[in-house]
């Protein structure tokens, strides 16, 4: 028994790696279709955007990079789809230096191809990337054109129809930051108190615990926490707009709902490893000479 426990504790990590690879890859290739339960923070975010009037404007800030794209991409796409369905206009910016703009361009191109009626400059606009995230936010709180004089194509903001009547963040009904790292927090701590604009955040799962403090204090309207939050949002969209199911049942595109299958199996594997490791540790300690 003791030898077995010692062998278990000294298990070659490559076996663990193999388990992890299979547990993530198989459910993505062959989806299980596990159910997703919704949490209050995601429902609040969804309901807030649902309550906006057609013609209202929200700002979507791409504050993440490719490293967390599988978690963050589905959030951004789901909110943009909801905006397209509700005729809510959206302004896209990117503040994350390592590939935020490219992800924004890809997400916008994807959603625009799904909703061909969306017109650039009228229903949405992509202002591009600007360095110096917190300074850019503060500047936008007073004057958006001060931070982004033109859109990504070089058209001055004064000539873009969607920007008529929107001089600062005070005229925007919501800021939705899809974030990894500190940039998302700056929207809450620096922009919301200054302009009063409500903020919804879509953080990665690893940084989501921090934002519960802001949810409790009322500084955040809602939160889509990690891939789970994105999958919840996809579920809420599918329930409210059954025609949207076509984007979430395809076996070709990656969705958070599909990703949750892999994450569930992965959680199970990690839990089993923790149980196994602790069982072996406790039994070997019991058997060890004092």
């Amino acid at each position: 028994m003791r030898r077995f426990l010692e062998r278990l504790l000294g298990l070659d990590r490559r076996w663990i790696f193999l388990f992890v690879l299979l547990s993530v890859a198989i459910p993505i290739i062959v989806p299980i279709g596990l159910p997703v339960t919704t949490t209050e923070s995601t429902r609040k975010a969804f309901d807030f955007i649902e309550a906006l009037k057609p013609g209202d404007t929200i700002l979507i800030s791409f504050d993440y990079g490719p490293s967390s794209a599988p978690e963050n991409d589905p959030m951004a796409e789901a909110v943009m789809r909801q905006c397209a369905l509700r005729k809510i206009r959206f302004i896209v910016i990117a503040l994350y230096p390592l590939g935020g703009l490219n992800l924004a361009n890809n997400a916008v191109a994807k959603v625009v191809s799904e909703f061909p009626d969306l017109k650039d400059g009228t229903d949405y606009v992509n202002l591009g990337y600007k360095d110096g995230a917190s300074a850019v936010m503060r500047r936008m709180g007073d004057d958006i054109a001060g931070a982004f004089p033109t859109d990504q194509k070089g058209t001055p903001l004064s000539q873009i129809p969607i920007m008529k009547g929107i001089a600062s963040l005070r005229q925007v009904q919501l800021v939705f930051t899809v974030a990894t790292g500190i940039i998302g927090e700056w929207w809450i701590t620096q922009v919301h108190p200054q302009s009063g604009t409500p903020v919804i955040i879509g953080p990665t799962a690893v940084s989501a615990p921090k934002y519960y403090a802001f949810l409790n204090s009322g500084q955040l309207v809602g939160m889509l926490g990690g891939m789970k939050g994105a999958a919840e949002y996809e579920k809420l969209i599918r329930a409210r707009y059954p025609e949207m199911a076509r984007f979430y049942t395809t076996t070709h595109d990656f969705t958070a709902t599909k990703g949750m299958d892999g994450q569930t199996v992965m959680h199970l594997i990690v839990l089993l490893f923790i149980l196994l490791g602790n069982s072996a540790f406790l039994l070997s300690r019991r058997g060890a000479p004092r």
């Binding site: 990590r13 339960t37 949490t39 490293s67 490219n102 001060g146 789970k228 949750m260 490791g277």
Partner: protein, 266 residues
């Protein structure tokens, strides 16, 4: 013509005074430390005053605080440039000396020049860094889509393997605190995902009870995240904010001088 006081004061504080200081500093070494401290004092005080004093020259649309935000955006751009210069210096040195791993520096430099070149090409030809007019990707977009993004995703994805390995080897119930952490983590891991439904997949008769148990676990998880976690996070955030405020105050008052990089006695 209306006189705009804000920009004049800013130019005085951040251009004229430091330039005079530099010239005087050539003869008076004491000024070498005092001038940057005064610059930091003004840079720190102006945004704070602008929050409380609603005067146009300070907090108006073209006031001092707003102009300083513009400067900060420009400075951030230059900081990026400084970073590139630093990367070039370090890696060229490494290649020239044939230090260990110098070949990786060559790869890094090639990546930097090719990607940077593609970006500059997009700017010069005005096609940008997104799509060409015919919808095809620009060279920069091709590089980011097919090299940068997959590489970044791969590096981050490796974390999953190491986390699982660490969970097996290091996440042990060695004492009471570690056990509480372990139990809380286990509950959250079960409650955040439909593990119980996954385990019930081969047993259709258990589907309903697995679903209700999963819902109960979900509620417990939400409570853990909302109440104990939320309270602890509030404490951490407030503590960190107080620390940042006191540090800012030390810089503004000239007590904290480490950022100046001065030698002893200066």
């Amino acid at each position: 013509m209306t006189f705009n006081l804000g920009p004049v004061v800013l130019v005085l504080l951040f251009a004229v005074v430091p330039i005079i200081g530099i010239f005087l500093g050539l003869n008076s070494p004491g000024l070498r430390s005092r001038i940057p401290i005064w610059v930091a004092v003004f840079a720190g005080l102006i945004p704070i005053l602008a929050m409380y004093i609603p005067k146009g020259f300070l907090s108006g649309q073209t006031g001092m605080s707003q102009r300083m935000d513009d400067w900060l955006i420009i400075l951030a751009g230059f900081a990026l440039l400084l970073g590139i210069v630093n990367v070039l210096q370090n890696n060229f040195k490494k290649v020239a000396r044939r230090d260990s791993g110098w070949f990786y520096s060559v790869v890094l430099l090639i990546g930097l020049f090719v990607t940077g070149g593609a970006g500059i090409y997009g700017a010069v030809t005005k096609i940008g860094i997104g799509f060409n007019p015919d919808g095809s990707p620009t060279p920069f977009k091709y590089l980011t889509d097919w090299f940068f993004q997959p590489l970044q995703s791969t590096i981050f994805a490796l974390l999953a393997f190491f986390m699982a390995s660490a969970a097996f080897r290091a996440f042990r119930a060695r004492n009471v605190e570690a056990t509480i952490l372990l139990v809380a983590a286990g509950l959250v891991m079960v409650g955040r995902v439909p593990i119980l439904e996954l385990l019930a997949v081969p047993f259709p008769s258990l589907h309903a009870s697995a679903a209700s148990a999963s819902q109960a676990m979900g509620k417990l998880t939400e409570w853990i995240m909302d109440v104990p976690n939320g309270a602890a996070q509030s404490g951490i955030i407030i503590g960190a904010a107080l620390g940042a405020a006191s540090m800012a105050l030390r810089v503004i008052l000239g007590i904290e001088r480490g950022y100046l990089g001065l030698g002893k006695g200066e």
